[in-house]
């Protein structure tokens, strides 16, 4: 018998080409996704006089600059941004790379496209330039962001990596009513801290994770990086196998799927496999969460208050809290539910899948938003599905804008900004200073809580709002 291995180690091992003396491993990359930010990497590949090694294993995605106002190039807000997309078109076109571009029926955020297309499968390695690639670990793939290593990945279809340490976060018990997958991950990050998982790969497990749908698991894995982790991953199970069926790049139903599933079943972490760090969280004790500061770790239960830096013993942390409170224009002791908001964003790779939109729509159905709201589906497929179910009408009737798929206000690169000094309840993953636009103030929440905030104009406890089934 060989030593028990974790899911992460099994995938790492099956993709190891070289174990180098310097502690770095050369890993093979099954799939590589790149968006508009890849221009520097393509440039570097050209400058070195090499080619994209496996263009059929690389995919381009126009998501960061794609306009939510419409599907065409003319809809993109200005020339500078149109140019970013044109450069991506040119780079992918020249290399023979399939591009999920503006008018594409599969247009969307890269981290939704991977799983939606069936590229992201249990046991594969899928990489993107963008850090929230960790989203895709939800189906049991090794998925992480590589930023500046993209040029190397394009040129060699491999990546040198130092093996991260292993952490397991077990979420046991059952989530109470009103507690979404977003609340679970915000609570985990609050517990671990902003750097608490640095240089670790987190495997999530436990009854509450098993109880989640594959899409909910994506929300959890998405924000792993906000605790500093390299990636998040969840062992594939029957739900995963079901999710993988009939996807364009997935195994075909029948013998091919059977072979794949048989392999996928071998991937689960072996009993007795060791982790460097373990955390256990009781889902039953969780509440809907909301952030007050400029780090995702600044999450508190919605019935909580803005914390007082005076109670923080660590000088550095106290200073950071004070800076956040000043930037966010909040006073210690303020009840979170008393914080007025100016607008709402429902979208981003954290919370823009069909289940997120359904959950938010159930809250707003038949009601009116009192502040401006924007809903942006994560992919065109999600958008079409939502429209077929009439969700767009529910949002529009409540006063929300309904956009074309993309990153939109998560990062404000496509022109959808939160104006200076304004406060936004957002389903995205980062509340950093200026993230949603210069001077923007972001409160991270789940989709139901964002919807509820739009209806009341303040941060709102979803459990206080009666939701029609």
């Amino acid at each position: 018998m060989s030593a028990p291995l974790t899911l992460f180690e099994k995938i790492w091992k099956s993709h190891t080409i070289v174990e180098d003396e310097g502690g770095q491993t050369l890993l093979y990359i099954d799939w590589l996704l790149c968006s508009e930010g890849s221009s520097h990497a393509f440039e570097m590949v050209r400058r070195q006089g090499v080619k994209v090694r496996r263009p059929q294993q690389v995919f381009g995605v126009a998501d960061h600059y794609a306009a939510s106002g419409g599907p065409r190039m003319e809809d993109v807000v200005d020339e500078e941004r149109r140019n970013m997309i044109r450069v991506l078109e040119r780079n992918t076109g020249e290399a023979g790379i399939r591009l999920f571009g503006l008018g594409d029926p599969y247009r969307g955020i890269q981290h939704l496209l991977g799983p939606e297309q069936g590229l992201t499968q249990p046991g594969v390695i899928i990489l993107c330039g963008d850090s929230h690639t960790s989203t895709q670990g939800a189906v049991g793939a090794l998925a992480f962001g590589i930023g500046g290593e993209l040029a190397h990945a394009l040129a060699t279809q491999t990546i040198w990596q130092r093996k991260p340490k292993k952490m397991r976060v077990r979420v046991e018990g059952r989530r109470p009513r009103g507690v979404s997958a977003k609340d679970v991950i915000l609570a985990i990050i609050a517990r671990l801290g902003h750097g608490g998982a640095l240089q670790h790969a987190i495997e999530y497990d436990g009854a509450a994770i098993r109880g989640m749908s594959v899409e909910e698991r994506m929300t959890v894995c998405n924000m792993s990086v906000e605790a500093g982790a390299r990636l998040g991953i969840i062992g594939p199970d029957e739900k995963t196998f079901e999710y993988m069926r009939n996807r364009p790049y997935g195994p075909k139903d029948g013998a091919e799927l059977d072979t794949a599933v048989a392999y996928w079943k071998t991937l689960a972490t072996d009993p007795g496999a060791a982790f460097d760090k373990e955390e256990v969280i009781d889902a039953a004790r969780l509440s809907p969460m909301v952030t007050w500061g400029n780090s995702p770790e600044n999450a508190v239960p919605i019935d909580g208050i803005v914390p007082d830096p005076a109670h923080e013993a660590d000088e550095q942390k106290r200073a950071a809290m004070e800076r956040s409170l000043e930037y966010m224009d909040l006073r210690p002791g303020t009840r979170m539910r008393d914080i007025r908001i100016d607008q709402v964003f429902i979208g981003s790779c954290t919370n823009s899948r069909i289940e997120d939109l359904r959950a938010a729509a159930a809250v707003v159905r038949g009601r009116r938003a009192v502040v401006p709201g924007l809903v942006v589906p994560g992919s065109t497929q999600v958008k079409l599905r939502a429209e077929a179910e009439g969700l767009d009408r529910i949002f529009r009737d409540a006063g929300f804008r309904w956009g074309e798929a993309g990153c939109s206000m998560c990062v404000g690169m496509n022109g959808d900004n939160v104006p200076e000094g304004k406060r936004c309840a957002s389903t995205s993953n980062r509340n950093f200073r200026g993230r949603q636009g210069r001077g923007s103030r972001t409160h991270l929440v789940g989709p139901e809580m964002a919807a509820a905030a739009a209806l009341t104009g303040r941060l709102t406890d979803i459990r206080d709002l009666a939701v029609e089934g």
């Binding site: 770095q24 290593e149 404000g412």
Partner: protein
């Protein structure tokens, strides 16, 4: 790529923990081409400049003594958050060639090596002491020696650091990691063949 062997230069202290990449370079500036002048003026853009473009005189890199800094000494979790290559370019184009911190955002840390910047991890007590010295003597220099793997502070004390041997080799020789990896072409090809057989249901390129 530039070689990095040893560097003696003015160092600027940055005391904040968790400096995220949205502060290093705001996302909206990432669509600027790197061409003339490069990304140097975007480094810490919103901390360095007011909305009207005027400099904020208090920010460390705007103070005369630190303007020519080639080294930054920071604290915990430096350059974390969004993985944006522009964060490295902004440092590089500003003239920064070494960043010393207690810990770094992973992606930034790795990207530095590939772009001619040496990131150095040192214990919290050491980085705090270095920052204290630099505040006490604005414009003082540190020496970062990659060959010996030491940082020499303003008082002449040497602090050893460890660094990955592969990354060290690239930086010392100014070699591209792409060229080094492609020397392993045979191994990669053999792997691909085996891999396509074991993952027969994946539509990988032949």
């Amino acid at each position: 790529m530039d070689k990095f062997v040893t560097l003696t230069a003015v160092a600027a202290p940055i005391d904040m923990d968790n400096v995220d990449n949205d502060q290093v370079i705001p996302a909206r500036l990432m669509r600027k081409p790197r061409g003339d002048g490069g990304y140097g003026r975007y480094l810490f853009h919103d901390l360095r400049f007011n909305a009207d473009g005027g400099e904020k005189p208090d920010f460390v890199l705007n103070r005369p003594a630190y303007r020519g800094a080639k080294i930054i000494v920071a604290s915990h979790n430096y350059a974390c958050g969004s993985s944006r290559i522009g964060a490295v370019y902004a440092h590089y184009d500003f003239g920064i060639r070494a960043v010393i911190a207690t810990s770094f955002g992973d992606v930034f840390f790795n990207n530095c090596f590939k772009n001619g910047i040496l990131p150095v991890r040192l214990p919290a007590a050491v980085t705090a002491e270095l920052r204290r010295q630099l505040r006490a003597r604005p414009g003082a220099t540190l020496t970062v020696d990659l060959e010996r793997q030491t940082v020499t502070d303003t008082a002449g004390a040497r602090h050893e650091f460890s660094v990955d041997s592969f990354a060290r080799r690239c930086l010392l020789g100014g070699l591209s990691d792409i060229a080094l990896t492609l020397e392993r072409e045979k191994e990669i090809l053999a792997f691909e063949e085996r891999h396509r057989r074991s993952f027969s249901w994946l539509p990988l390129q032949r």
